[in-house]
C-alpha cells in the first residue's frame, strides 16, 4: 500500500489529465478488489433479499411451489383494508413509544451510576452487563416462567400482601411484561455506549462549572446531556430499529396474544409467511417495515450530520 501511494503521489503532479484519469480508474479497480468481499456479502445478504421481498410483495400464488402472478398493490390493499393490520401497527407504535424512552432513560441512569466510583462497582457492572451476553431465547424462557400466574414473581408479590398479577395472560399487562423482559436484556447494551460517551467528556468542563458554582443538576443538563447528544442520537435510532424487529419474546411467549395485545409487526409478518403460508402478504408487510426503517436511518444520518456541522 505504502509503495503504491508513494508511486501515485510522485507521478500525480507530472502527468497530463488523461493519464491521471486512467490511473485514477486503476486505483478504483484496486479499491474494488479490496471492497469485493464486503460488497458481495451486502449483495447476497441485503440487496437480493430486499429486492426479492419487494418483488414478491406485488405477486400472489396459491402456494410456494406454484408460479406466482403479478397482482399490483393487491397485497397492500388487503393489509391496509384489514382491521387486524391496523391493530398490528397500533400495538407496534405503542410498543416503540414506551420501550424507547424507558430504555434510554434507564441506560442514562445506569451509565451515570457506573461512571461514579463506589464500593461494589464491579458487581453492579456485572449485573448490568451479564444479561447482554445471555441468549435472548434463554432469557425469554426464564422470564416466561417468572411471569406465570403461579410463578415466582407472584409468589413474592403475594408474600408482601400485593395480589398476584396476570402478566402475560392479560391484554392490559402482556405488552408491558414483554417490554420489561426486553429491557432487562437490552439496557445493559445501550449503557455500554453511554459509559464510553461519558468518559469522553473533558473533566475540565465539570471543574470549570463547579468553580462557577453550578450544582449537579446544572452540570448534568448543561454539560453531560449536550456532550452525549451524538451518542444518544445513535442509541435512540439503533434502539428503535432493534425494537421494530423484536420477535423472540412474542414468538416464544404470547404468539401475539392475548387479544392481539402483543402482535408486533415482525411477528405478524412471520405468522403470515410461515404459519399461514401466505409469503406474499408477509413480504408486503416486510416492505412496509423496510420503508419505516429506511426513514429512521435517514433521520439518524440527518441528526448526526447536523451535529457534525455544528
Amino acid at each position: 500500500m505504502t509503495l503504491l501511494h508513494h508511486k501515485v503521489d510522485r507521478e500525480a503532479g507530472a502527468q497530463p489529465a488523461s493519464r491521471r484519469r486512467r490511473r485514477g480508474s486503476g486505483v478504483w479497480k484496486v479499491a474494488l478488489v479490496f471492497l469485493a468481499p464486503t460488497l458481495l456479502l451486502l449483495l447476497v445478504l441485503r440487496v437480493i433479499p430486499i429486492t426479492e421481498a419487494i418483488v414478491a410483495s406485488f405477486q400472489r400464488s396459491p402456494s410456494r411451489v406454484a408460479p406466482p402472478r403479478w397482482v399490483g398493490f393487491e397485497n397492500y390493499e388487503a393489509l391496509l383494508s384489514n382491521g387486524d393490520f391496523a391493530q398490528v401497527l397500533g400495538v407496534t407504535g405503542l410498543f416503540i413509544l414506551i420501550i424507547i424512552p424507558f430504555q434510554v432513560i434507564s441506560a442514562i441512569f445506569l451509565a451515570l451510576l457506573l461512571n461514579e466510583r463506589f464500593p461494589g462497582l464491579g458487581i453492579v457492572r456485572a449485573f448490568i452487563f451479564v444479561p447482554v451476553a445471555a441468549p435472548a431465547a434463554v432469557a425469554t424462557v426464564v422470564w416466561g416462567v417468572a411471569f406465570q400466574p403461579q410463578g415466582p414473581i407472584n409468589a413474592v408479590l403475594e408474600a408482601v400482601g400485593i395480589p398476584g398479577q396476570p402478566f402475560l395472560t392479560s391484554p392490559d399487562q402482556a405488552l408491558l411484561a414483554i417490554i420489561i423482559l426486553m429491557s432487562w436484556i437490552g439496557v445493559g447494551y445501550w449503557t455500554l455506549f453511554l459509559v464510553a460517551g461519558l468518559q469522553d467528556i473533558p473533566h475540565e468542563l465539570y471543574e470549570a462549572a463547579s468553580i462557577d458554582g453550578a450544582g449537579w443538576w446544572r452540570s448534568f443538563f448543561s454539560i453531560t446531556l449536550p456532550n452525549l447528544r451524538r451518542t444518544l442520537a445513535f442509541i435512540i435510532v439503533a434502539d428503535t430499529v432493534a425494537s421494530l424487529i423484536a420477535f423472540v419474546p412474542v414468538a416464544l411467549l404470547t404468539r401475539g396474544g392475548p387479544a392481539d395485545s402483543t402482535r408486533l409487526i415482525m411477528y405478524d409478518a412471520y405468522n403470515n409467511t410461515f404459519v399461514l403460508g401466505d409469503p406474499h402478504l408477509g413480504q408486503a408487510e416486510v416492505t412496509i417495515l423496510i420503508l419505516v426503517l429506511v426513514a429512521i436511518t435517514a433521520l439518524q444520518f440527518r441528526l448526526l450530520g447536523r451535529e457534525k456541522e455544528s
Binding site: 400466574p149 395472560t169 392479560s170 410461515f274 403460508g277 401466505d278
Partner: protein, 432 residues
C-alpha cells in the same frame, strides 16, 4: 453430495418407474419401491418414539438408510412451509397432521399416492384413516397412528371429596357440565386443579367439545372454506370452556405441554387425553388413576378427537421409490406399524396391528386399565370425529388456537369468536 444423489436417484427412479409400468399389468400397480439410498424422515416426535420401527426397517431393508430429523410440534408446520414449500430436496418423507392433508395437497406439498397405496389403505387400515388421508378423491398420505381420547381420573382425589368415579360405559359417560361441578368439589377437598385437557388450547382437543355441543366442526360450504365458528353451539361450548378457567378449575398461563405431567404427578382430578397418557402415568408412578369414557355435552351427541400423524412424501424428493418403501413398511405392514406405535402406547392404524393393540390394552397397567380394550373399540366406532380436511385447515388451527387462548385468558367469548370468524373468513377468501 445431494446433487450427486439427485442424479443417481433420478436415474434409479426413472428405471424403477419404467419397471413398475412394465409389470403393472400383471401386479396391479402395487406400491413397491427401490431398496437402496438415503431417506430423510422429518417428524414432530422425538426419535425414541419411532426407534423400534426404524430398527425393524433397517433390518428388513439394509440398503436404505433413514436419517431421522425431529422438529418440535410448535415449529413443525412452519418448518414444512419453509423447507417443503421452499423446494428443499433434503426432506423426503414427512409427518402429515390429520386435518392438514387437504391444505398440503392443495399447495402441492405432497406426492399423489393413489395408485400406489389407495387400495391397500382402504382394505388394510382402520376405515376412518382412509378418509383422513384422502382429499379431492386422491390419497396423499398414509396413516401411521390414530388417536382417541379417554377421561382419566385420580381415584385418591375423588375419594377424598366423596365424588363418584365417571363411567366406562359410553351410555353413561360423564357430561362436561357435571365434570365442571365435580371438579370444584374435588378442589375444595384439596386438589390443585380440577379438569385439564392434554392439549388445552388446540383445535384437535377442543373440536369434540364444540361438536358435542352442536356447533359442528367450524367448517362449512362445498369448498370447505366457509367459516362457521361463532354459531350457537360454539358459543355454548366456549362459555363452558371460559368458565373452566374463570373458576380456577384449570390453569391459565401454563404451557399446554405441561398438562399431562400435572395429572401424572397427582395434581389434577381429571384429564382428557390420549392413550399415551398411560405411559406417562406408569413412568411417573405417582397417581392412582382410572380410565373412563370421553365426556359428552349434556343432551348432545358424543364426540371424540381422532386422527393423528400420517406420512407423506415431498414432491422434491430425490429418492421417491425408497421413500415409498419406507412409508409402506411403517404404515401398511403389521411389523412396521406395530413397532411404530409401541413406544408411546399410541394406537396403530393397520388393522392387524390395531387388533393386537386393543387386545393388549386391558393389561397395560394392571387393574387401572381393565376394560380399556372394549372402551376403545366402542369410542372409535361410535364417537370419533376427524378434523375437517379443509384446504384452509392451517389457517383454522392458527386462528382458533389464538381464540381458545384468549378465551382461556378471560376475554369475552362472543367478541372473541366474532373476531376469529371474521379473521378466518378473510384468510380463507384469499385462498378461493
Amino acid at each position: 453430495m445431494r446433487k450427486h444423489y439427485r442424479y443417481i436417484a433420478v436415474a434409479v427412479a426413472a428405471a424403477t418407474i419404467a419397471g413398475i409400468a412394465g409389470c403393472s399389468a400383471t401386479d396391479g400397480g402395487d406400491g413397491g419401491g427401490s431398496e437402496s439410498g438415503t431417506v430423510t424422515l422429518l417428524m414432530a416426535d422425538p426419535q425414541e418414539n419411532v426407534q423400534p420401527a426404524l430398527d425393524a426397517f433397517a433390518e428388513a431393508y439394509p440398503d436404505i438408510t433413514v436419517e431421522y430429523e425431529y422438529v418440535p410440534f410448535d415449529q413443525f408446520n412452519n418448518l414444512i412451509e419453509q423447507r417443503v414449500g421452499g423446494g428443499d430436496d433434503s426432506v423426503d418423507v414427512y409427518a402429515v397432521d390429520s386435518g392438514a392433508v387437504g391444505s398440503l395437497a392443495t399447495k402441492g406439498y405432497l406426492v399423489d399416492l393413489t395408485d400406489d397405496f389407495a387400495d391397500k389403505v382402504a382394505s388394510d387400515s382402520l376405515p376412518a384413516t382412509a378418509d383422513a388421508n384422502t382429499f379431492d378423491g386422491k390419497l396423499w398420505s398414509v396413516p401411521l397412528w390414530t388417536s382417541l381420547q379417554y377421561l382419566y381420573y385420580n381415584k385418591d382425589l375423588l375419594d377424598a371429596a366423596g365424588v363418584a368415579y365417571p363411567s366406562q360405559n359410553l351410555d353413561e359417560a360423564a357430561t362436561y357440565q357435571q365434570l365442571l361441578e365435580d371438579s370444584k368439589k374435588v378442589q375444595a377437598a384439596g386438589a390443585t386443579w380440577g379438569l385439564l385437557f392434554g392439549q388445552i388450547n388446540r383445535y384437535y382437543q377442543l373440536q369434540p367439545l364444540v361438536e358435542s355441543a352442536g356447533g359442528g366442526s367450524g367448517v362449512a360450504g362445498d369448498d370447505l372454506l366457509t367459516a362457521d365458528i361463532n354459531n350457537e353451539g360454539w358459543l355454548s361450548a366456549m362459555d363452558w370452556y371460559s368458565q373452566l378457567f374463570e373458576d380456577g378449575v384449570a390453569p391459565r398461563g401454563i404451557a399446554t405441554e405441561q398438562m399431562s405431567a400435572l395429572f401424572a404427578t397427582g395434581e389434577a382430578a381429571y384429564l382428557v387425553n390420549g392413550p399415551w397418557q398411560i405411559a406417562q402415568n406408569i413412568a411417573e408412578d405417582k397417581v392412582n388413576y382410572g380410565v373412563a369414557a370421553n365426556p359428552v355435552w349434556e343432551g348432545g351427541d358424543p364426540a371424540m378427537s381422532t386422527g393423528s400423524w400420517n406420512l407423506g412424501i415431498n414432491p422434491a424428493t430425490d429418492n421417491l421409490e425408497a421413500s415409498k418403501t419406507l412409508i409402506e413398511f411403517l404404515s401398511l405392514t403389521q411389523e412396521g406399524n406395530s413397532a411404530a406405535a409401541e413406544p408411546q402406547g399410541t394406537s396403530p392404524t393397520f388393522n392387524a396391528s390395531f387388533d393386537e393393540f386393543v387386545n393388549g390394552l386391558d393389561a397395560r397397567d394392571g387393574e387401572r386399565t381393565a376394560g380399556l380394550g372394549e372402551l376403545t373399540s366402542a369410542l372409535l366406532n361410535n364417537t370419533a370425529v376427524n378434523r375437517p380436511n379443509s384446504p384452509g385447515f392451517t389457517q383454522m388451527a392458527d386462528v382458533t388456537g389464538r381464540a381458545f387462548e384468549d378465551i382461556r385468558n378471560g376475554q369475552d367469548v362472543k367478541a372473541t369468536l366474532d373476531d376469529a370468524q371474521a379473521e378466518l373468513q378473510g384468510l380463507w377468501d384469499r385462498l378461493k
